[in-house]
């Protein structure tokens, strides 16, 4: 799993502290990044590899300039600094903020400084083991930056978005994505139909799970294919989505599977409707068609007839995570599943899914319908003590799942 990192690769810097801050960044050695409120240069990562832990000592802001100045100074100046730091190290009683700054300037940083601070704190020995660990971890947070260099995964991406911009991924969390993949029965060589409004998180998760040994059809509404920006975090998926294993398909084709055969020989077009375009000003049209062409070049464009055949054959799995899809659209998508196909529908609102649950319970196309709420709770652990986190997400969303069966017309 440990791989060397090349320039331009996406890396994730995961802070080792209670906050577990995540920073997604492209690796360029001269770039400066901020983790846990502190900046450092990526060039300082020693021979970076995924899965590598790196500890940085927080230096005094003036230390760099003062050290440079000391290099130019004569021997007398150096001796003075050393004596000062020696004196400070052997000083009786606790340190003041000024002392700590002097120690940092003298090069006592990171783990050494944390050890020294705990030794010199008169009340440290009176603390319980739990208290001592808490004190040390607090000091480490202040005087050190510890990060793990992680390879971008859909799970980390989901955690990152959940903190930064949860609405963009409809508040999907790792536990709800994991449950969706399980309930939709995502396995190698599946034919998966995805209708999502989550920037491509679910497409990326399915591709990651199957290592791209899957056929994904991403259904979208309107004329313009979705951006699916999150696929860009995975270099292997950027090329993969131009293959026939990944198709973006407008929803309206599902209603034309047995009609409009005159277009069957043409490649799928993402151009905007001419009527719609004529209502706009020329500059807007030019901008739109430029972005349309740019986006459509991201995807494989199958021949319409082939696409219809694929859609008619059916799918083994269906995942839906959209803002407010209508019941008709959901039933249309479920009807595209083969008998024994699995579906999983995510929504962050219970009222929306409860209505759908009630409708599907009466629908002869589906069985084994279940509606469940998923949630997770993180626990803090220190030696001998533990408790759940004081605050957490109220819910990780709701998932409605079931299986498609064949309707028996004889009964």
């Amino acid at each position: 799993m440990a791989e060397a990192i090349a320039q331009g690769d996406w890396i994730v810097l995961q802070s080792i502290s209670a906050s577990k801050d995540l920073t997604f960044v492209r690796y360029y050695p001269n770039r400066t990044v901020k983790v846990g409120g502190r900046k450092f240069r990526l060039a300082d990562l020693p021979g970076p590899q995924f899965g590598c832990r790196v500890d940085f000592a927080v230096k005094s802001q003036e230390s760099d300039s003062s050290q440079a100045q000391q290099m130019e100074d004569d021997g007398y100046g150096e001796t003075t600094t050393l004596q000062t730091s020696e004196e400070l190290i052997h000083k009786e009683g606790s340190y003041t903020a000024q002392d700590i700054d002097s120690l940092r300037k003298a090069g006592v940083v990171g783990e050494d400084l944390v050890k020294l601070l705990s030794q010199k704190n008169p009340s440290f020995s009176k603390l319980s083991r739990f208290g001592q660990e808490k004190y040390i971890s607090r000091k480490r947070r202040k005087h050190m930056i510890s990060v793990v260099i992680q390879k971008p995964t859909c799970c980390l991406l989901c955690e990152w978005y959940l903190k930064k911009n949860p609405e963009a991924i409809l508040r999907l969390s790792p536990v709800s994505v994991g449950l969706l993949l399980r309930l939709a029965n995502i396995v190698a060589d599946s034919k998966v139909l995805i209708f999502e409004d989550t920037l491509g998180l679910l497409c990326a998760s399915v591709a990651e799970r199957t290592q791209r040994q899957v056929f994904i059809t991403n259904i979208f509404e309107g004329d313009h294919p979705p951006g699916l920006e999150l696929l860009d975090f995975f270099p292997c998926l950027v090329e993969w989505r131009r293959t026939s294993r990944f198709i973006v398909c407008p929803m309206n084709i599902l209603t034309q599977l047995y009609s409009e055969e005159e277009r069957d020989g043409l490649p799928l077009s993402f151009r905007k409707d001419s009527l719609l375009l004529s209502q706009k000003s020329e500059s807007v049209v030019a901008a739109d068609s430029a972005s349309s062409t740019r986006d459509s070049s991201k995807y494989h464009r199958p021949i319409v007839g082939q696409l219809k055949r694929t859609l008619r054959e059916g799918f083994s799995s269906l995942i839906i995570a959209c803002r407010e899809p209508t019941w008709e659209k959901i039933l249309l998508l479920i009807s595209r599943l083969v008998p024994n196909g699995s579906f999983a529908i995510y929504h962050y609102s219970l009222s929306y899914l409860s209505k759908l649950h009630y409708l599907l319970l009466k629908c002869p196309l589906v069985i084994a319908i279940q509606l469940e709420e998923c949630s997770q709770l993180e626990h803090q652990i220190l030696s001998g003590r533990s408790h759940p986190n004081m605050s957490s997400l109220p819910t990780d969303g709701f998932v409605l799942s079931g299986l498609r069966v064949e309707v028996d017309l004889n009964l």
């Binding site: 590598c52 832990r53 396995v187 290592q211 008998p339 899914l353 469940e372 498609r404 064949e406």
Partner: protein
């Protein structure tokens, strides 16, 4: 790898039953069973008598009618289904504590497992996790499953063979706390569902690939605390997170909404004219006389286990530090 078994795995979209297949029979929401299709297999339930010979050669996911009729002359039916990991978990006979859907989903997703991954599972148990892992890593990957109970191992092994995943799962009956994991190479992930996980931490360090994750599945906090003490002894193992997941099932019922009380509305309008708008809005809502309401089940599985995530790290790029 058993090539014959590998080739036998059905790949077509619509599954056709053949003799010797292990399938799921969906009788009702709370009655999901697994059976092996032999020519002489007959299952009997309240919907009638079902003969496996009627099903062989037919597509799954369609109604399977009984040969018997009820008092009104109707034939009962059940649904024969291809086993998915979710259906399998619901159908298996509970020999030990099961690992349930929300835990399995999160474990596999967070560990980053996929086709081609290699993973160790300690505590085969009922095989719920084994099947989920096997379907995830297939093809190209491998699951190494360990349990100390020979009976459990042979039962799950036979089921995996019938499910066509026998080729990507190896079973070993041994006491891993004492003997370790044997001749298993470095793996991408380790899942430990054993009573004393702290005893195997030393073996985990050797087996896990750099950057790989181990998940300790422990129902009790005492197990977690003891495991973490042991993990902290190893510089290269880093505790990432401790989580519990919960999956709360809901049922929906129709709810009749009563007509608005005109007298009360007039009184409210007179007394509080500022609520006029609210009254108008509720009036619009009340046009639908039936609404649905979702209730959580009265009892549900509120605690399964603590999931302790530990990652093996490279320290400052130095493998041996």
């Amino acid at each position: 790898m058993d090539e014959d078994n590998h080739l036998r795995k059905p790949r077509q979209l619509e599954r056709v039953c053949s003799e010797g297949d292990l399938i799921i029979v969906y009788i009702s929401a709370d009655q999901i069973k697994s059976i092996v299709l032999n020519l002489d297999t007959v299952i009997v339930n309240k919907y009638g008598k079902f003969y496996a010979s009627d099903l062989i050669g037919k597509t799954l996911g369609r109604k399977w009618y009984s040969r018997t009729v009820d008092k009104k002359g109707r034939r009962g039916y059940v649904y024969p289904l291809w086993p998915t990991p979710e259906l399998w978990t619901k159908s298996i006979m509970q020999r030990t504590q099961l690992v349930y859907s929300s835990d399995i989903g999160l474990i596999i997703h967070k560990m980053g497992l996929g086709c081609g991954s290699s993973v160790i599972e300690a505590g085969t148990g009922s095989g719920s996790m084994t099947f989920a892992l096997a379907t995830t890593v297939y093809p190209g990957g491998h699951v190494f499953s360990f349990d100390s109970n020979e009976e459990r191992v042979s039962a799950v092994k036979s089921q995996m063979d019938k499910l066509y995943f026998g080729s990507c799962v190896s079973f070993d009956c041994r006491d891993i706390a004492e003997k370790g994991f044997g001749e298993v190479g470095p793996v991408d992930g380790i899942f430990l569902d054993i009573p004393e996980p702290w005893l195997v931490v030393k073996h985990v360090v050797d087996l896990l690939r750099d950057g790989g994750t181990v998940v300790f599945y422990s129902p009790c906090m005492e197990q977690v605390l003891r495991t973490i003490e042991e993990v902290n002894l190893f510089h290269r193992l880093k505790l990432i997170q401790i989580l519990t997941t919960c999956s709360k099932p809901y049922e929906t019922r129709p709810r009749r909404v009563f007509q608005q009380d005109a007298t009360l509305l007039n009184f409210l309008r007179e007394q509080y004219p500022q609520v006029e708008e609210t009254i108008e809005e509720t009036k619009a809502d009340k046009e639908a006389t039936v609404m649905t309401s979702a209730h959580a089940y009265r009892y549900y599985r509120s605690h399964t286990a603590y999931l302790t995530w530990v990652q093996k790290l490279l320290i400052n790029g130095q493998k041996d530090s």
